[in-house]
């Protein structure tokens, strides 16, 4: 058996972790999100009137706009968590592992929602402008954001020491975030110089009913986003607990090699 001198892990999630897959709070949140998503589908497809100018294409508004908000929110959360990790991580009791998990969970949810935003945006664009893609500043920035954070997730998946990986990932997230305004600005400037007015998707005239449907669907998607981040966070945490358990076993096995223990 492992003796009493067992070295103490700096972070032993075991001690504070009767952690499973859900809690009362997130269960309620999850059902709320689910029900409101279903309601969004009904409202968006059936209840909402067609727009006078853009016709039924307006139904994409209820998907595209909330989805992109969730994506931006997730990336902002990832960037803030990464910055806090680099700034405060060392002095925290858990060495910033909580912040690292928030960053990782947010980034993944952000990537999924950015993909959805790009897809719905392209479909909507096809209907209203006749093309899938416009080289407009915001669209280009969003595409770059998508690719950057795909790279970020690839970096997180590397089999390196957790502390090394978190630090590298946090720096990558911050560099990408600093870079996105530069992308936006340079594309914007490029478009302006070429004097092609960028087509904005906000041209649909949003009136009473549509406004409330948009508001409702936004709430639905934001709730869903929060729920997804919370659960993704827990999965990361469970994986860490599993790895740490493996570690304690590995140390015991390593000591047993000596045969004298």
């Amino acid at each position: 058996m492992v003796s009493a001198t067992k070295p103490e892990m700096p972070v032993s999630p075991r001690t504070s972790a009767r952690m499973a897959t859900s809690s009362v709070g997130t269960t309620v949140l999850g059902w709320l999100a689910f029900v409101s998503l279903v309601a969004t589908a009904v409202l968006g497809l059936v209840v909402s009137p067609r727009d006078v100018v853009t016709g039924d294409a307006v139904r994409f508004l209820y998907l595209h706009v909330p989805v992109i908000w969730v994506a931006y929110g997730a990336f902002i959360s990832c960037a803030i968590a990464s910055a806090l990790f680099l700034w405060k991580g060392k002095s925290r009791a858990d060495r910033g592992r909580h912040l690292d998990r928030v960053a990782g969970a947010s980034a993944e949810v952000g990537v999924v929602f950015t993909a959805l935003a790009l897809i719905t945006g392209a479909m909507w664009g096809r209907i209203t402008w006749g093309v899938y893609w416009q080289w407009d500043a915001r669209l280009t920035m969003t595409a770059m954001m998508f690719v950057s954070f795909l790279g970020y997730l690839a970096l997180r998946r590397l089999p390196t020491e957790p502390s090394v990986r978190s630090k590298r990932a946090a720096i990558a997230a911050l560099v990408s975030s600093v870079n996105l305004p530069l992308v936006h600005f340079s594309v914007d400037w490029w478009r302006t110089l070429h004097q092609e007015a960028s087509l904005s998707v906000d041209e649909a005239e949003i009136t009473g009913n549509m406004y409330s449907v948009l508001l409702f669907s936004s709430v639905a998607f934001v709730l869903t986003g929060i729920w997804l981040v919370a659960h993704r966070y827990r999965v990361i945490r469970l994986e860490e607990i599993r790895d740490d358990e493996g570690l304690e076993l590995a140390i015991a096995a390593r000591r047993a090699e000596a045969g004298v223990d």
Partner: protein
């Protein structure tokens, strides 16, 4: 610190001088990219002349990724990263030195590619000063951000594929601004070129600042 940065840069350039990887392998590859584009566009001279600035920068982009890759392969061989950590050179000096060496090699590469565009694509250099200024600021920014990601991929087994994925999205604005400035310098457009050089300069400054802050934490991991 300047002395240390120069020491690192001098060492990198000496290695390049002895091994000639950039000049014998990366530069020809850049020219090859230009030629392959000519095939892709069916040797349509009009189209190629018009697209030359962008094609030159795409060449710089890909050759640049390889140059950064090479620059950090040198440091990860034979436990050299450990030796650097055991030396008294500060990470900031290391960053500046490596960025300077990569930048200088890329600048030479860029001159070669512009030469290629003149020969293959019939480009005319209308404003050499603007051309040089855009090349210097563009490659400067590229090498600064390239070295940040180079350090990030140190010791990573999948570096060959990971580095381009991480690096290319963030250098997109350099590609864009560099292309616009070159369009003016190569007499393709009559729009302002110097604003783009200014933007490239701003990006260079931002990336240098980020690298100065980030290089220490990145190297410490090894």
């Amino acid at each position: 610190m300047i002395r240390d940065a120069l020491l690192i840069a001098r060492k990198d350039l000496l290695i390049e001088w002895r091994s000639r990887v950039t000049i014998n392998q990366v530069a020809p590859l850049g020219l090859l990219i230009l030629i392959v584009f000519a095939f892709a566009f069916d040797a349509n001279r009009n189209l190629l002349t018009k697209g030359a600035p962008g094609l030159v920068w795409v060449g710089v982009l890909f050759a640049g990724v390889l140059t950064v890759q090479r620059s950090f392969t040198i440091e990860s061989a034979d436990g050299i990263t450990d030796a650097l950590r055991l030396s008294s050179i500060s990470p900031v000096a290391m960053f500046l030195g490596k960025a300077a060496a990569v930048g200088l090699q890329l600048f030479v590469l860029e001159i070669v590619l512009v030469g290629g565009a003149v020969v293959f694509f019939d480009s005319r250099i209308g404003d050499p000063v603007l051309l040089i200024a855009a090349a210097v600021t563009g490659t400067g920014g590229f090498s600064a951000i390239g070295c940040i990601y180079g350090a990030m991929s140190l010791g990573v087994r999948v570096r060959e594929t990971l580095l381009p994925l991480l690096l290319i999205p963030v250098v997109a604005p350099i590609l864009l601004a560099g292309t616009r400035a070159f369009e003016r310098a190569l007499d393709i457009s009559t729009q302002a070129g110097w604003n783009w050089v200014g933007l490239l300069g701003v990006m260079w400054g931002v990336y240098l600042a980020v690298g100065t802050l980030a290089f220490g934490p990145l190297l410490e991991d090894g």
